[in-house]
């Protein structure tokens, strides 16, 4: 594969080299290490043997996503079991994560019993705290009221919030409400104004981690894999030296670096979805049972203070 972009046919701003490399990683487990804007990647098997000592940081946390509790179709008839496996994987990490981010689609149909099962299952996570943002499947019939009541207390507006950990600033955004006909994910004016104010007083050296359900970069708009007003949100973050954006929604890992911003999507704990444009629709990808576990997983993130480094490791179940 050439290291240079000879022809950029799609003009979508995605670095084709990085995009293709990341696509090749999907489901295999890879470490991404960002140092001074340069992405280094290692196979997870190598990392475990050779590099693990370098990964110790000031802060480590885990992202899990798209648990779809209540889904029971062919792609994965037992999504609660695979969620439990993801939890076991987190609990087996050598250093327990400071917290866990769930980036949405906790449930498949926003039913109370589905939220109950999710909450009950996550009680066994060995971590101090779990932070949530909703996916579109969590806000189906009530504009997100049930989700908000259970998982979004102490948040602003329709559920957005921020917090600080070990000198890094974390921002949870909601982009699954008030979606417009023909459009993509949506943040909305109120949330954008809040975001601008939220980061206004921060030093530019503060590492920023943004998490939201639908990708904040345009992955495949034809399938709704993007957010209409994400450009404006990201414009408020341009002055920061290190910005990491963590999303779910597309049930596969992808990564892109654009200037100071690293975008990353996580695997689902429930079922895989097709690669962009590789199927008639983004519906659940039915794979042989023995292959399912290699396409589900968790994401482990390490932050080393002073190095502007976030090391992101995806591992499959």
């Amino acid at each position: 594969m050439s290291d240079f972009i000879e022809k950029n046919l799609d003009r979508d701003g995605i670095d084709r080299r990085g995009f293709l490399k990341c696509m090749a990683w999907a489901g295999t487990g890879t470490l991404c290490l960002l140092q001074g804007g340069v992405l280094k990647s290692f196979a997870l098997s190598d990392v475990m043997h050779k590099y693990v000592g370098d990964l110790k940081g000031d802060l480590s946390f885990v992202q899990i996503s798209d648990s779809h509790i209540g889904f029971n179709k062919a792609a994965n008839p037992d999504v609660t079991a695979t969620l439990r496996e993801a939890i076991a994987k987190v609990n087996a990490l050598p250093t327990p994560p400071s917290f866990v981010l769930h980036t949405g689609d906790l449930t498949h149909l926003s039913k109370p019993e589905e939220f109950d099962t999710l909450a009950e299952s996550l009680k066994s996570l060995r971590t101090d705290r779990i932070f949530y943002v909703p996916g579109e499947h969590d806000v189906l019939n009530d504009n997100g009221e049930m989700f908000h009541e259970r998982f979004g207390k102490d948040t602003q507006g329709d559920g957005w919030y921020s917090f600080d950990q070990k000198g890094a600033h974390f921002i949870g955004l909601v982009n699954v409400l008030n979606l417009k006909a023909g459009g993509l994910g949506n943040l909305g004016q109120d949330q954008l104004e809040w975001l601008e104010k939220d980061v206004a007083s921060l030093k530019s050296s503060t590492p920023i981690v943004v998490f939201a359900h639908i990708p904040l970069w345009s992955i495949y708009p034809q399938w709704g894999w993007g957010t209409d007003d994400s450009e404006q949100a990201l414009s408020y973050l341009k002055r920061f030296g290190s910005v990491t954006v963590l999303n779910g929604h597309i049930h596969q890992t992808m990564q892109k670096i654009e200037g100071n911003i690293t975008f990353h999507t996580a695997n689902s704990t429930a079922f895989p979805q097709p690669e962009p444009g590789q199927a008639d629709s983004p519906g659940p990808l039915k794979v042989p049972a023995e292959k399912l576990h290699s396409m589900l997983g968790i994401t482990d993130v390490n932050f080393v203070r002073g190095k502007h480094t976030l090391a992101i490791v995806d591992s499959t179940l």
Binding site: K73, L109, A181, W223, G224, G283
Partner: protein
């Protein structure tokens, strides 16, 4: 943004129309090579007869199938007073939401239906509020 709740089971009160509506759905899914539709409320079994198919045309009940993240047909022209029934054939939930807030379904899981009777002429654009790239149009004349 909140919408008033619309009736989802209007069809249940008019069994005659239900049977005819189901016939329309069966004919649509047969055309795509698989017969997956279940008759609503067990009112009908087996494949639709020629008489039922003809009746469907007479009553004017129409069906829109949600499949592969799209509404089929995307545009439907019907006379005033027609009841349109949407059925979700996907593995994921979808909704049927009028852009002008004229009707709104709850989330429809696989094989679930939503019906709305169009009493006024006009163009009704709608979309799936879960996957807003999915859009459709009912033209009532």
């Amino acid at each position: 943004m909140r919408h008033s709740k619309m009736q989802q089971s209007k069809a249940v009160r008019n069994l005659g129309t239900v049977i005819l509506g189901t016939a329309a759905i069966l004919s649509l899914t047969l055309a795509s090579g698989t017969l997956r539709a279940r008759p609503l409320g067990g009112a009908q079994t087996g494949t639709p007869t020629a008489a039922q198919m003809a009746g469907e045309e007479k009553s004017g009940a129409k069906a829109v199938t949600i499949d592969n993240f799209s509404f089929g047909p995307m545009q439907l022209e019907v006379p005033v007073g027609t009841q349109v029934t949407w059925i979700n054939k996907d593995d994921v939930p979808h909704t049927v939401v009028s852009v002008d807030h004229k009707f709104k379904s709850r989330a429809l899981d696989t094989d679930e239906k939503f019906s709305f009777t169009f009493q006024d002429a006009g163009t009704y654009e709608y979309f799936c509020s879960v996957h807003p790239k999915m859009t459709g149009k009912i033209v009532v004349k």
